[in-house]
C-alpha cells in the first residue's frame, strides 16, 4: 500500500466506509439506512479512485451503476412509505404483497440491494474495477463489505419487512437471478486471463448463491445463505490477499506470465489451495457446508415449484465450474513451469502471510466445526429461528474420513514424483525448444470452451459488454447529454450567467449606496425609524 498515491486519502475513505457501513447496519429506519447507503456510494467512489493505474472510468462506472440503482431504491422506499406509512424496521406485522405497488416497491429496493451484492445484471462494476484497484481494496469492498451489506438489506427486506414466502413470483425472481448469476459469472470467470478479474467474477458468482438461498424461503437455505456470506468473506479475502501477495512479489496479475510459484511461496500456496477448495465446495471445508444447506433448501422447495431441480442443477453445476476455474488459478499461479524471471521470488512478507494463513485456517475450522461454532453461535442466533434438520451431513465425521483419504494420498504421492513438474525435452521438428516457450499456461485450460460456437459467442458478447447494462445506460445518457448540452444546457448556462451578472450589478449598485457620507447613513436610520413608527404606532 505504501507506494500507492494518495494513501492518506485512501484511509480516510476506508474509515468513512466503515462508519457508514455501521450506520447502515445500526439504523432502524429505512430513511436513515438510505442516508448511510448513499454515503457508501461516495466513499466507494473515493476508494476506487485510489487505484493502481488511472482508475477514474472504473470508479465512474461503479458510481453510476450503484448510484442509479440507489435512486431506484429511494423511489421504492418512497412508494413503500406512501403505501404503508411506516419505514421503521421492526414492523409489528410484516407487509404482505397485497398491492401491485408494494411488489414494485420491493423490486425497486431490490435493485439497490442487487447492485451492492453485484448480482446479474448489475454486477459489471466489480470486474471493471478489478482491473485497476489493488487486491486489498477488492478484498475489502466488493469482496466482503458490500456482500455483507447487500445481504443484510436483502434479509431485512425479504423476511423482516416483507415476507416473500407468501408470494411465490418474488421468490422466483430472486431464485432466477441467483441461478443465472451463478452460472453466467462462473463461466465468465472460467475464461479470464487475469487473476484479479477472475476472482472478481468469482465473487459475483458466489453472490448468486446467497440470492438463491434467500430466494428459496426455506429456513435452512436462508441460514445456508447467511453462512455462505460469512464463508465468502473468509475465503474470498484469503484468495484476494494471497493473489495480492503474489502480485506484490511478481508485479503482475496476468496468469499467462505466472506459474510454478508453489515452491517459492509455500505458505501462500497452501492458503490459496485451502481457500480455493473451500470456495469450490469441497468437503469438509466451510464452503461445502453452506452450499450443502442451500442445496437442501432448494430441494425442499419442491412442494412450491415445479422447476426446483433446475435451480439445483444450476447451483451444483456452478459449484463444479467454481472448482474448474479454481484449478485453473492454482495451476497457473502455483504449479506448472516457472518462468525464469520468477526464480528469485521469495515468500511474501510476514505481515502479509499471517492474515492469509489465518483466513485459511478459518476456512478449515468453520468447515469442520460448522455446526458447533459458526452455526450455533453466529448464524442461528442472528436469524432467530430454529432449523428443522441440519441435513444428512456430519462434517466432523466426514473430516475424519477425508483425512484418512488424504493421508493415504500423501503417502502415495510421496513415493511418486509429483512434487516437481516432470521435465522432458520438447522436440519440434528436431529442435529442442526452450521450456519457456512450450510452457502450458493455466489460461488455456478451458480454451476449448471457446471453440464451442454458442458459448464462444456468448463469451464474446460478454467481453464485448453486451450484458453490461452500464453501456446501454451510458449510450442513452450520452445521447441525452448531447441533446441537453446543445439545448437545455445552453439555456441554463445563459440563465446562470445572466442571473450572476444581475446579482453582481445589484451588488455594485448597493455598494455604491454606501457613499461614506455620514448624513446619508443617519438618514437611513431615520428611514427605518419611519417604517417602524408607521407600522407599529400609527
Amino acid at each position: 500500500m505504501s507506494k500507492m498515491p494518495r494513501e492518506r486519502v485512501y484511509y480516510l475513505y476506508v474509515a468513512l466506509t466503515l462508519a457508514a457501513a455501521n450506520g447502515v447496519v445500526l439504523s432502524g429506519n429505512l430513511i436513515f439506512l438510505l442516508l448511510f447507503w448513499n454515503v457508501l456510494v461516495f466513499s466507494l467512489y473515493g476508494i476506487l479512485q485510489v487505484g493502481k493505474v488511472y482508475s477514474s472510468p472504473a470508479a465512474r462506472k461503479a458510481i453510476t451503476i450503484i448510484g442509479v440503482s440507489d435512486y431506484v431504491m429511494m423511489l421504492g422506499i418512497v412508494i413503500f412509505l406512501v403505501k404503508t406509512g411506516n419505514v421503521n424496521f421492526p414492523l409489528e406485522t410484516k407487509v404482505l404483497f397485497t398491492d401491485t405497488w408494494l411488489v414494485v416497491s420491493y423490486i425497486m429496493i431490490l435493485c439497490g440491494v442487487l447492485a451492492k451484492l453485484g448480482a446479474v445484471p448489475l454486477h459489471t462494476w466489480i470486474p471493471e474495477s478489478a482491473k485497476v484497484v489493488p487486491a486489498s481494496t477488492l478484498a475489502f469492498i466488493p469482496g466482503s463489505l458490500d456482500k455483507l451489506l447487500g445481504f443484510y438489506l436483502l434479509m431485512r427486506l425479504s423476511y423482516y419487512i416483507f415476507d416473500i414466502t407468501t408470494y411465490v413470483p418474488v421468490q422466483m425472481i430472486l431464485m432466477i437471478i441467483g441461478a443465472v448469476t451463478i452460472i453466467t459469472m462462473a463461466i465468465m470467470a472460467l475464461l479470464q486471463k487475469d487473476t484479479q478479474r477472475l476472482l472478481a467474477f468469482s465473487t459475483v458468482s458466489q453472490a448468486g448463491y446467497m440470492v438463491l438461498g434467500v430466494g428459496t424461503g426455506i429456513p435452512i437455505a436462508i441460514a445456508g445463505a447467511l453462512f455462505h456470506m460469512l464463508n465468502n468473506v473468509i475465503y474470498k479475502s484469503a484468495l484476494f490477499l494471497s493473489a495480492g501477495s503474489v502480485e506484490y512479489r511478481t508485479k503482475t496479475t496476468d496468469m499467462d506470465s505466472l506459474g510454478g510459484l508453489g515452491v517459492k511461496m509455500p505458505v501462500t500456496f497452501f492458503a490459496f489451495v485451502i481457500a480455493a477448495l473451500a470456495i469450490s465446495g469441497v468437503p469438509p471445508l466451510n464452503g461445502f457446508y453452506s452450499k450443502w444447506m442451500i442445496y437442501q433448501g432448494i430441494i425442499e422447495t419442491r412442494g412450491a415449484t415445479n422447476v426446483w431441480f433446475i435451480f439445483l442443477i444450476c447451483a451444483m453445476f456452478g459449484s463444479i465450474l467454481t472448482l474448474a476455474y479454481n484449478l485453473k488459478l492454482i495451476h497457473s499461479i502455483f504449479l506448472g513451469e516457472r518462468p525464469k524471471d520468477f526464480n528469485k521470488v521469495r515468500e511474501a512478507r510476514f505481515e502479509m502471510v499471517v492474515p492469509v494463513l489465518l483466513l485459511a485456517l478459518g476456512c478449515i475450522g468453520f468447515g469442520i466445526f460448522a455446526q458447533a461454532l459458526p452455526l450455533r453461535y453466529l448464524i442461528l442466533p442472528s436469524l432467530g429461528f430454529e432449523l428443522g434438520a441440519l441435513g444428512f451431513w456430519s462434517p466432523t465425521m466426514a473430516t475424519l474420513l477425508i483425512i484418512v483419504g488424504i493421508v493415504a494420498g500423501i503417502i502415495v504421492y510421496w513415493f511418486g514424483t509429483a512434487m516437481k513438474p516432470r521435465r522432458t525435452s520438447v522436440f519440434v521438428g528436431g529442435e529442442v525448444l526452450d521450456g519457456e516457450e512450450a510452457r502450458i499456461t493455466g489460461p488455456n485450460f478451458y480454451s476449448s470452451i471457446n471453440s464451442v460456437e454458442m458459448l464462444r459467442k456468448t463469451y464474446d458478447f460478454g467481453e464485448g459488454g453486451a450484458f453490461d447494462f452500464y453501456n446501454y445506460l451510458r449510450g442513452a445518457a450520452s445521447g441525452f447529454a448531447a441533446l441537453s448540452r446543445d439545448v437545455i444546457d445552453r439555456i441554463i448556462t445563459e440563465l446562470y450567467r445572466v442571473i450572476g451578472r444581475i446579482v453582481t450589478m445589484v451588488g455594485n449598485l448597493t455598494s455604491l449606496l454606501h457613499t461614506g457620507e455620514l448624513y446619508n447613513y443617519v438618514g437611513w436610520i431615520f428611514l427605518g425609524g419611519i417604517i417602524i413608527l408607521l407600522i407599529l404606532v400609527l
Binding site: S511, L512, H514, T515, G516, E517, L518, Y519, V522, G523, F526
Partner: protein, 112 residues
C-alpha cells in the same frame, strides 16, 4: 404635557443637528443637546408639585419629597454623557489631525 413636549422638541433639535450639520463639532453639540433633553425629561418626570428635594433634614418630619429615582438615574446619565462626549471630542480632534477638516462630507475614505 407641554413641558414634556418641550423636551421632545429639544431632543429633535439635537437630532436635527446630527443629521443636517456637516461640521463634526456641531454633531457633537447635537449629541450634547439630545443628552440634555433626556436628562431634563427624567427630572421633569419625577417632579411632584409642592414637594421638596429628597433630602431628609429632620428624622420625624413627614416625608413629602419628589421622586428620587429619576434624579439618581440622571446623575448616572450625566456621567455617561460626559464620558461619551469626551471620547467623541477626542475622536473629533484626531480626525481633524488626520484630515485637516471638520467637514463630514470630506471625511469619507471608507465607502463602497
Amino acid at each position: 404635557m407641554i413641558i414634556f413636549l418641550s423636551c421632545i422638541i429639544l431632543f429633535l433639535i439635537g437630532l436635527y443637528a446630527i443629521v443636517t450639520k456637516r461640521n463634526l463639532l456641531k454633531i457633537v453639540i447635537g449629541f450634547a443637546l439630545v443628552e440634555y433633553a433626556i436628562n431634563l425629561l427624567f427630572a421633569l418626570i419625577g417632579f411632584r408639585s409642592g414637594m421638596l428635594a429628597p433630602i431628609i433634614t429632620q428624622v420625624d418630619a413627614p416625608h413629602r419629597f419628589v421622586d428620587p429615582i429619576p434624579q439618581a438615574l440622571v446623575l448616572t446619565a450625566i456621567v455617561i454623557a460626559l464620558g461619551t462626549t469626551a471620547l467623541m471630542l477626542t475622536v473629533v480632534l484626531r480626525i481633524y489631525n488626520r484630515y485637516k477638516t471638520f467637514d463630514i462630507a470630506e471625511i469619507r475614505k471608507l465607502k463602497g
